[in-house]
Symmetry: C2
Subunit: 477 residues, 2 copies
Amino acid sequence: MLHLSLDEPSYYWQPVVSSSKPQYGSAKDFEKAISELKIAFPDEDAVSTDPDDVYAHGYSVNDYHRGTAHSVVVYPKSTEDVVKIVRIANKYRMPIVAYAGATSLEGQFRGHSAGGICVDMAQMNQILQINEGDSDMVCQPGVGWVEINETLHEKGIPLFFPIDPALSATLSGMISNGCSGIVLPSGEVIKTRRRSRKSAADFDTTKLFVGAGDTLGIITEVTIRLAPVLPSTVAVVHFPDVRRACEAVKDVMNKGVGIQSVEILDDLFMTAINNFGQSGRVWPTKDTLFFKLQGHSAASLKESAKVVREVAEKHGGFGFQLAKNDEEAENIWTDRKNAHYAGLALVPECRPLATDVCVSVSRLPDLIHETQKDLKNSGIMAPIVGHVGDGNFHAQILFTIDAEYQIAKEVSTRLVHRAIAMDGTCTGEHGVGLGKRQYLVEELGAGTVGLMKTVKNALDPLGLFNPGKAYDDTNSK
Amino acid sequence: MLHLSLDEPSYYWQPVVSSSKPQYGSAKDFEKAISELKIAFPDEDAVSTDPDDVYAHGYSVNDYHRGTAHSVVVYPKSTEDVVKIVRIANKYRMPIVAYAGATSLEGQFRGHSAGGICVDMAQMNQILQINEGDSDMVCQPGVGWVEINETLHEKGIPLFFPIDPALSATLSGMISNGCSGIVLPSGEVIKTRRRSRKSAADFDTTKLFVGAGDTLGIITEVTIRLAPVLPSTVAVVHFPDVRRACEAVKDVMNKGVGIQSVEILDDLFMTAINNFGQSGRVWPTKDTLFFKLQGHSAASLKESAKVVREVAEKHGGFGFQLAKNDEEAENIWTDRKNAHYAGLALVPECRPLATDVCVSVSRLPDLIHETQKDLKNSGIMAPIVGHVGDGNFHAQILFTIDAEYQIAKEVSTRLVHRAIAMDGTCTGEHGVGLGKRQYLVEELGAGTVGLMKTVKNALDPLGLFNPGKAYDDTNSK
């Protein structure tokens, strides 16, 4: 309905997107840039052109993209340092790619074919402020979420950062809320918003940078919202199939009980966890839901668990288990957290192609069901984990040889088309990076992608910030 | 710390913001535009140049800005109709201002001094889809939130749209979540995202249009997220002063009980409600908290109420009342909803200047306390209502004559400076419109406001969409 084909009168304005590729500096320019970086950062370890280092920063064993080295890696310690780097990049027209926890799965921190500067946030890892009374904190972006929660715990502050991604993930890659210090492609430093929880002071420019994969600016300071530490526990229940598990989740989400997280692991992932050898128990190899529950008292937790059990059993759930204490809860949750590496251990020497589609929760059972059939037909090993409450799931497609990689790509492509046909997205949380660029117009339409490029062009006319990633198709790699 | 004053080398790019005022069409051009609108919309009532109509659409008795008429009001029924209007606006370089529930308080729908087209969304009021299984619905933007909730209730769907603004507010003015159909200043129609709950498909262009006050595009289709209807109730408790009430809220928010809403009304507002004559009870004229609680069962509600009472009394709360049944809960909540008109009735023939600052919750007690002192010294009547959980409050400053209006402006200006000095915002929810433009650079910095203008300039190079509002200072009015 929104795809109009009215006659196009010639008088109205069309967004002008530069279709020419950016002009980067020459190899000689880049050499000069590296010399200036070494002068600007005299510390011995602050600037590296070591071949292993520049390649390691443009590669990851956790994904399926080939590696591309940067020209140089720089380790800033402050916003001012990032400004210095951005100014040198401008002067010599050099691409610039930010790097932090390196948990991206879509090639977000790969180098550019023209070469460029990799800005490693490892030393921008300071916690700047903890505001207990406001349940927020201000950090540099290189701080890891695990460290944040450990720090809060050690200081006896009853708050935590309520997210749960890969263990080494840092704020850089997962900015979720609040104001940010940003270095723009111009070298200008802005603060996108104030620390109040709510603001209606025009469109929230913070949101331009969230999810943009450092294509519009480099985030150098982050305010995150914290949640109170409340009594919590973990429950597990098995199902005859994924469809009924999904339906149980849909039902339980409308009951108003306190659910922090609900995850599905299919029978293959449960097998993988048993094989992995890190678990203290042997799980039934059945499609399984893991619930993390929270409440204001032990009594309310118990009542929530009762509701979850009743709803689950109504949908064919069986073998319901509630952790007996905090230690058991943590152990069970660790089994779920180990899924990624347990899955990889299923096939020696394999690499994973992790899919990331997300659809409305009502479509999720069909989508997973059809995908399981497709995976079975393809003959390739692919355990499935899903954030069911969001309609988001990952098939971890395991390949070793090129022929398998081709099959994985084909299954993944069919899955993306299937999700988009269900009014879903090619990526629920991993981002576009290099791996999902080709689906963006199909998902969002040429107009919306054109709008993104118009904004990019207005902010970064030289095309220096993480070029060739996300909506930016100027790099064909 | 983020305000750098490094030497500015000349080589790096500076955002180019057109500082020249937009060139609008002549009076003759606008006449031609109106003729074309009448041809494009042949229905008798679709295009109005009636002087009362064009003025009524550029004025509101609920705020403190003077009225400015539009040249013409048009009533589209569809996205395609809006495209037609935008194309005619482009052809004749005519400003365009969207209008919906008319509950804005900062002059957002005032006409432009150059004249222009007012696009009234009254007939774009269709509910297009209700997706019960996904807890969302798709609507045209002219639908009111009250109608949405009545429709869901009548259809027996156990979901609701969990917001609670002015009764006549429509989606247009308060887009809160989900994907949107947008008509861009170019006349191009885009859909910003798919219906899945989560997406990482680059920066979310939806967010560009949320809070932008129709300066970047006109929203023509909205997907909103719904919440389950759960058992709920209302509790009221009084306090010796606002400071202790705020502290109770801070404390209770960390207990993990289900709170839909918590509002503070000061003693003056409680007096106003008693005087207003719509309430079935006589309230103690004390600073009062209204809690709307929700839970998964009557038992969990009761337990939550117990926690709220204990925490409140620890902070000096007294006279705790819990509604005995749903009817009583609704009556009590209606008293709180009547605050705006009850306040206005305090002073015959007055108009209100409603302030809207928002700070971190830890700063709210000090901010309200200092503001109460300032208001008292000014001798002007100004009841206070606050969304305490967010750190947001409104003083409804009541004026009748010019001298009082000047005092109201001065108090409001001091309040904004005070809030910004506390790392807060000039507007928590009413937006910038005409009334808060002068504070934006103080709050966000010239860089961030420049960024907004750069985006505006890239999307709307002719400056046609709601010119002179929000970050756009090209209209000096």
